[in-house]
Symmetry: C2
Subunit: 352 residues, 2 copies
DNA sequence: TTGAAAGCGCTACCAA
DNA sequence: TTGGTAGCGCTTTCAA
């Protein structure tokens, strides 16, 4: 059976409290050097490990952090980082997956009242997270959220990509290549990061190119489910329209606020006219979001690495949680991360 | 503060044990209908939740399952399924990530002696898992492993893809298209699944084509790190060699035991000679493993869906764990899963 | 039908 | 330097 403090105490003919005191290095308990050694040694010999449940019950601390994914499939790379980093500071990671914020609310109430964790990480879209986080706030459970709550909840511990800077950086890069007619291609589902990206695009254009962006230069890449039967997607039609514009109005570059799919769509569309992505004369230059695993087909481009989500997990586990778990409040509670902007792999298929 | 049984008892002027008995529906405790209702109602009103630590301490059961990933990055899609399915039967999921089997051994000893979970799922390569599982076996902790231990540990609860059937199926499919000169392309790192795939290939060839496979038809796609500088990889050179063979000896199809990268390599190699993957006359037909996200470039092929790992998680969480957690032993402790064999997405880029 | 009481293993406080 | 003891919230046994 499992070894308890009592077992050690009995074996050494000492009191439990002395054993406990020595094992936990309590400041006001100090055994004679000899007893200290004996306790430590037999604890090791007998392979003593404190019982997690008993300790949790008594101390009220569980040494566990819960990570809740609310309606966000495919984001689980971060559990690896979280689990590993938390293990280093002696914490376990509990993972919960929820479909919507109502389920989340219920589960969180459960978590709280059953006292199964000392802190919570909330992962998902802002609209799904917000209410749950507010619940944790009123219950005074330390928590960190993924998302942009800079305006709505400036005191929450929060982590996200710096979407504004990402697009500013993208524009700056494109501008540095000499582009001035830069269009933006992104999604529009009224999600916070989408607004931030567009904001970054506008401000980048203002500061790097000195231009207020015209509406025609803001394109939407939303998939529309209704016309999957069409041979050309909405995006393709939009792009064809803008590329059909007179030469001097046509954008020479796109700041991308999409996934890789849109890059591929553009590549294939351009290929029809013998064009490719890149930096050579005649090329169209793309840069921005999209850094998934698959390579580009024909051309080249710079993207932010999406595997950098693990960096967010690192920030949470290294910068925020250690403080929060000690009952402290981090000096800076908002962490916006600029992922690395790198050349994306490409098959460089030749066009002819 | 959190509501306890005592709070309810005090409020209703009843004893704690009666309250506890009613709340847990204990068979030998039955309050008067009136008191039963009162207890249930106030418990709900006061939002009573049993304290996890106290319950664990007293009962010795934690209602938690630990999933340990040993040296297996990128496999975390399964936590989503595990977490969700376990939640349905009232269990929490603890996730641990370990670099090697030594770290795993230590962590598992810790888990066991601290009594933090009721069962364990081990995920990784057979050689990394085996020792840890043996530890769990001697400690009589219920566990499920991912991998092939049919021969080495036939009584372990184990789940994996049915790699033999997968390759048999692949060969059968290729044979049904009329192919007889079918080569195998796989890895050779002495991993169990690699051997199983090859075994399946051989047996498929035997039963569907009636041929003992010649060694020249077994190709290895191992990346060799040393010659990244070369413009042609080892795989390319091997393929070129076999495709340069006289027409009547050349394979017309490949059973693939690799990832998608090898498919792309082959596609590009074939493209140089104006060939593509597919089923049309002159095409080379590929089928088998490789089902990652990125589409094919030029041609077509059938692959097993690798997102089907979540099916393994489902089997673990639905078929094995409920039994094991009840202290029972599943009727059938080995579950081999045949993933779906589907046409893979392709850009269908035209070759000219 | 109900209640009293022991005790899971640990922490924390007080006394010697 | 050490030991005693209360009690965290719950389960379980026995008694009323």
């Amino acid at each position: 059976m499992r070894v308890t403090q009592r077992d050690i105490a009995k074996k050494l003919q000492l009191s439990i409290s002395l054993v406990a005191g020595v094992l936990n290095e309590r400041p006001n308990v100090w055994a004679s050097e000899e007893n200290r050694k004996r306790i430590l040694n037999t604890a090791k010999e007998m392979n003593y490990r404190p019982n997690a449940a008993a300790r949790a019950l008594r101390s009220g601390r569980t040494n566990t952090v819960a990570c809740l994914f609310i309606n966000s499939p495919g984001q689980h790379a971060i559990v690896e980082v979280l689990a590993e980093t938390l293990a280093n500071i002696g914490y376990d990671l509990l993972v919960k997956v929820m479909r919507d914020h109502e389920q989340a609310q219920r589960r969180i109430k459960n978590l709280i009242s059953r006292s199964v964790c000392d802190a919570v990480v909330l992962w998902g879209l802002e609209k799904d997270i917000e209410q749950s986080a507010m619940l944790l706030e009123t219950e005074k459970i330390p928590f960190v959220v993924k998302g942009h709550f800079e305006e709505s909840h400036p005191y929450w511990c929060q982590v996200d990509f710096d979407h504004i800077k990402m697009m500013e950086h993208t524009v700056k890069y494109l501008a540095s290549l000499g582009h001035t007619r830069i269009a933006y291609l992104g999604y529009d589902h009224d999600l916070v990061y989408e607004h931030k990206l567009l904001e970054g695009f506008r401000s980048g254009m203002r500061s790097c190119v000195g231009i207020e962006v015209k509406d025609e230069y803001i394109l939407t890449a939303n998939d529309d489910m209704e016309c999957t039967n069409d041979d050309t997607s909405v995006l393709e039609r939009e792009l064809e329209k803008i590329l059909a514009a007179p030469r001097e109005y046509r954008p020479t570059a796109f700041a991308m606020g999409t996934g890789l799919g849109a890059w591929h769509t553009i590549e294939k569309l351009l290929a029809k006219s013998g064009l490719k992505l890149g930096w050579e004369p005649g090329d169209i230059t793309l840069a921005g979001m999209g850094g998934e695993d698959a390579p580009l087909l024909f051309g080249e481009g710079y993207m932010f690495k999406d595997t950098d989500v693990t960096n967010l997990a690192n920030i949470i586990a290294l910068r925020f949680l250690p403080k929060l778990l000690k009952g402290e409040y981090p000096e800076s509670n908002i962490s916006l991360f600029l992922p690395s902007f790198v050349r994306h792999a490409s098959f460089r298929l030749s066009l002819r």
